[in-house]
Structures are given as C-alpha cells and as structure tokens.
C-alpha cells in the first residue's frame, strides 16, 4: 500500500515536472505571439483584455519586400530538393546495387561530408562561386548543398533493404538501369523520400549564414536573410513589428509542421536511425 502511494506521488511529481518544462519551452513562443498581435503599448506588459490587432503584421509585411523573399525561399528549397532527389538517387543506387572498382573508397569519401559540411568552408566556397559568376544568385546559394552525403547515405540504406528478386524480375523484362531504378526502387523508397524531403526543406528554409554571405540583393535573399536585414537596419527597436515579421517568416513551415506533425516527427526519427 505504502509502495503504491509512493509510486503515485512520484508519477504526479514527474507529470508536474514535465509540464513545467513544457510551459518553459512554450513560453518564448507564446510571448512572441502575444507581442505580435497586440499594440506596441502592450508589448511588455501582460493584460488579459488588451485589444487584439493585425496592424503589426500589416506594417511588417509592407515595410520590407517579404513577398519577394518568400518567393526566393520557395524557389531555393524547391531547387535544392529537386536536385538532391535526382543526384542522391542515382548515386545511392550505384553504391547499393552495382559493383565497381573503388566503391568502398568513394563511399568513404562521401561519408566524410557528414562531418565536414559546406557550412564551415565559407571562404573557399565563396571564392569558387566568384569564379563561377554565381554570387548573388539562387543557384549560388543552392550549389554547395546539391551533392548531399546525408541523402546518398539514407537512400543507399533504403535501397539495400529492397529485395533483389524484384530487381532481377525487372531486369528479365528487359529494363535498363534507369528503368529499374524508376519502376522498382523509387516507388518502394517513398517513405525515405518523404523523410529526407522534410528534413531537407526545413534545413534550407531555416539556413542563414551561407545565404547571408552569398546574397546582397532583394531578388535573391531568402526569408531568413531578409528578416535579419529588416530587423537590424530598417527598424528602430519596434519589437511588435520585428516580432510580427519574425513569426511571419517562420509561419509557413510552422503551419506545415502543425498540419503534418506526425509525418514530420516520424521523418526526423527515420532520418536519425542509421
């Protein structure tokens, strides 16, 4: 009896602890939402009956070319995702199902990129893009990320689990390499594509440092860089408007996440299990 009570108390304490941590984690976001939807006068004081307003959002939207930034970001993540899917699929298939001299060495070279990402080689990559005349272009932001070791690795692992007889059957029917890839491997790896796609889109939607370095005009800046330019130069310190702009730039991804929460979480899990 004593033990049962003890356990119940323990459970209650754990629940309270978990929820306190949850509230602590949610608080900054709730505070940002509060600031964005109330007049500036209420930005720093809490009043349950403070009037709601959309004015901050409207002001922020009009104060900087956010529509253009949004288009840039959408073009950027689409370009990266499309190219990554094609390039990684081809490479992953070669590593998973073809035998050729130097396979293990080349695969080790690919895996090296999991530790040394293009993000840390800023100076040299910038120089390369200058030579290619791709500075301040959306292709230029995307280029270093198109050959993705992570994508190759993930798809190779998936392709390895696909039964060889299926592949053999397609081959007997006269399918070439690309046809087998397209008809057998790609359809069966759909969950991995979704997982990798969500991870890639959220990474590049949120990426900041490299785009900051490589862009310097409105027509190429993604949302993250546009937001930083807006928050530091265009605005004094009108927190209501800065916070409104901040939420606005994060909103598309956040809404997508809230709608497809299960897929997102499962995708991140799938991508993490190696």
């Amino acid at each position: 009896m004593m033990v049962a009570d003890h356990n119940r108390l323990g459970r209650a304490l754990e629940t309270i602890g978990a929820w306190m941590l949850g509230i602590l984690w949610l608080l900054p976001l709730l505070y940002a939402v509060w600031t964005a939807f109330h007049p500036a006068a209420y930005a720093t004081r809490f009043d349950l009956f403070a009037p709601l307003t959309l004015k901050n959002l409207v002001t922020a939207w009009q104060a900087a070319p956010f529509a253009r930034y949004l288009v840039n970001t959408v073009m950027l993540v689409t370009l990266i995702l499309g190219a990554q899917f094609v390039l990684c699929t081809l490479a992953a298939f070669a590593f998973a199902r073809l035998t050729f001299p130097g396979r293990d060495l080349l695969f080790a070279l690919v895996l090296l990129q999991l530790m040394v990402m293009p993000d840390v080689l800023l100076v040299e990559n910038y120089r390369t893009l200058v030579q290619l005349h791709l500075v301040d272009t959306i292709v230029g932001i995307a280029l270093p990320y198109l050959g993705s070791a992570f994508g190759i690795f993930l798809l190779r692992q998936t392709f390895l689990t696909i039964p060889q007889p299926l592949d053999d059957a397609a081959r007997l029917e006269g399918c070439g390499v690309l046809a087998r890839l397209w008809r057998v491997y790609v359809p069966l790896a759909k969950p991995t594509y979704i997982a990798y796609g969500l991870v890639s889109v959220s990474y590049h939607w949120n990426n900041f440092l490299w785009p900051l370095i490589i862009t310097n005009s409105v027509t190429t800046r993604p949302l993250t860089v546009g937001l930083s330019v807006f928050a530091t130069t265009d605005q004094g310190i009108d927190w209501s408007i800065v916070t409104a702009a901040t939420l606005m730039t994060s909103a598309p991804l956040l809404v997508a996440f809230l709608l497809f929460q299960r897929q997102f979480v499962q995708s991140f899990m799938r991508a993490g299990i190696r």
Binding site: E14, A18, W19, G22, I23, W25, L26, P28, L29, Y31, T35, L87, L90, A91, A94, F95, L98, T99, F100, L109, V110, M115, V116, M117, P118, V120, L121, L122, V123, E124, N125, Y126, T128, P144, G147, A149, V177, N207, F208, L209, I213, T224, L227, S228, A231, T232, W239, V242, T243, T246, T249, S250, L253, L254, F257, V265, F268, G272, I273, R274
Partner: protein, 289 residues
C-alpha cells in the same frame, strides 16, 4: 571496362563532382591557403610557410574564441542531451496531454535560428525584456544581459539549449519506442525499482542513440553561429566570439583570407578529432544490437 562499372561511374558522377567541388577540394585548398599570405591587389600571394599559424598562436582573440567555443560546447552539449533524454522519457510514458507536451518540446526546432535569436533578443533587452521584468518582481535591478561580458555567453548557451533539446528528444523517443517491453516486465516481476531499471537497462540500450546525438551536438556547437551574428556580433569585447564566427569575421569583414583559412584548418582539425572519437574510441565501447 565492364558495362556495370561504366554505369556506376556515370550514376555517381554528378553527385560526386558537386561533393568534391564544395567539400573535399575547398578543404584541401584551405590547407594550401593557410601556408600563403593574403593576396593583395592582383599580386600572387607569397609562400609564408607556418607564419600564419605562429601569428594565430600569438593572437589573443583566437585563443579567446577557442576558449569561448569550449565553454559553449561544454555547457550546451550535456545540457541539451540530458534535457532531451528527460523529455523523451516524459512523453514516452502515459502522461496527461502527452502529444501537446511533445509538440511544446519540439516546436523551437522548427523555427529558424535567426527567428529564435530575434525573439530572445527581446527577452534580454534591459528594463523591458522578459528577464528584467521577471527579476523586477523579485526586486532585481536592470541588467544588460548581452552587453555584459559575464552574462553574454551564458545567454547564447540558453538560446542554443532551448532550440536543440527538442530535436535530440526525437531520436531518444524513436529509440525508446523500439525498446523490447519484455525486459521491463521481467524487471517488474523481480521487483527492480524504476531507477535501477533505467540505469541498468534503458540507459545502456540507449548508448548508440546517445553517441549519435552527441556527435550531432558537437558538430552543431561548432557549426551554428546564426544567433551570434544577429544577437551580439561576437561582442561585448569578443565575449561571445565562437570559432566559426571569428572565421566569418576575418574572412568577410576584414577580408583576411589567409588568417580565415588558418582558422578553418583548426576547425577542421576539431571536427576530424570528433569523427575519430566517434568511430575509433567510443564506437568500440558502445553496445550495438
């Protein structure tokens, strides 16, 4: 050459060209550049041997950046991993409002770091910010959190932990959900306490996940500096200058590419050491199922 070999090389070519062009080649080029002076006005850069490295040895800002980064890593990595594990254990059990809680923990992960930085910048504002207001209730005075060298780095650490813990939670949660339940039943029958079960069974079984999370946490501690760029620009007085931020500053604000290359080599060495620890030392001691 065999047909299959030709096919394989053709399939690999596009991805490998891009990988080598933006990862392997620049890494080698960085090493070469670190042995030359910064070129000026079209003249080819003179070979200077290890001069850039000795300059770096005598550069107090470099040592401070290294020290800052060590403190930053030593604080964010354990804090975010322990919190991630606690979060995962909490939302893995039958808890009231479990899915809402999981959402609360994970949400910061979906925000861009730059958005997170903007929100927290507001919290740290003297007088008006959340921190000063809350402290004000308890009689605390005005504090310039980001302007004070003593609190600026801890402030950056708090931001990073808030952003990352929920991300790592996902991996622990995935591992916990695949854990065999018969072990737990057996332990319950033998009257083993929950703490004992956690320490003897759960924690060892989570070791591969911990290793994976650890490696990612180490990489992030050296790779993510978005919040530094937005919130402090390395200041005050270099108190929040991390290694990559120092590279960014020397490379793109002072345009001193030779020093930036030398700094990058130090960063690459740290990442290589991490990789070696992962696969060489820790990897052997971890129990894989």
């Amino acid at each position: 050459m065999r047909r299959e070999t030709i096919h394989a090389y053709l399939l690999l070519l596009p991805a490998l060209v891009l990988l080598v062009a933006f990862t392997h080649w620049p890494a080698i080029e960085t090493l070469i550049d670190s042995l030359y002076a910064t070129p000026h006005g079209g003249h080819p850069a003179p070979f200077v041997g290890f001069d850039n490295y000795t300059d770096l040895r005598d550069d107090p800002v470099f040592w401070q950046a290294l020290r800052n980064n060590a403190i930053y890593a030593a604080a964010t990595i354990p804090a975010s991993i322990v919190l991630a594990l606690l979060m995962a254990l909490a939302v893995n059990g039958a808890l009231p409002g479990r899915s809402a809680l999981r959402l609360a923990y994970f949400l910061p992960t979906m925000l861009p770091m730059i958005a997170v930085a903007n929100i927290w910048l507001f919290f740290y504002t003297p007088d008006y910010g959340l921190f000063d207001q809350v402290l004000g209730w308890f009689g605390g005075g005005r504090h310039n959190w980001l302007g004070d060298a003593a609190t600026a780095l801890p402030a950056m650490i708090a931001v990073a932990v808030w952003k990352e813990a929920g991300f790592f939670m996902i991996f622990y949660l995935a591992a916990l959900q695949t854990m065999p339940t018969d072990l737990r039943e057996a332990a319950a029958l033998e009257g083993s306490s929950r703490w004992n079960y956690f320490r003897r069974v759960t924690l060892p079984l989570l070791m591969p996940t911990t290793l994976f999370v650890l490696v990612n946490a180490v990489i992030n501690a050296f790779r993510v500096i978005d919040h530094i760029v937005v919130m402090t620009r390395g200041g005050p007085d270099n108190a929040t200058t991390l290694l990559l931020y120092y590279i960014y500053e020397t490379g793109f604000r002072f345009w001193d590419t030779a020093t930036a290359a030398t700094l990058t080599i130090v960063l690459l060495a740290i990442l290589a050491l991490t990789a070696w620890l992962q696969f060489g030392v820790l990897g052997r001691r971890v129990h894989y199922r």
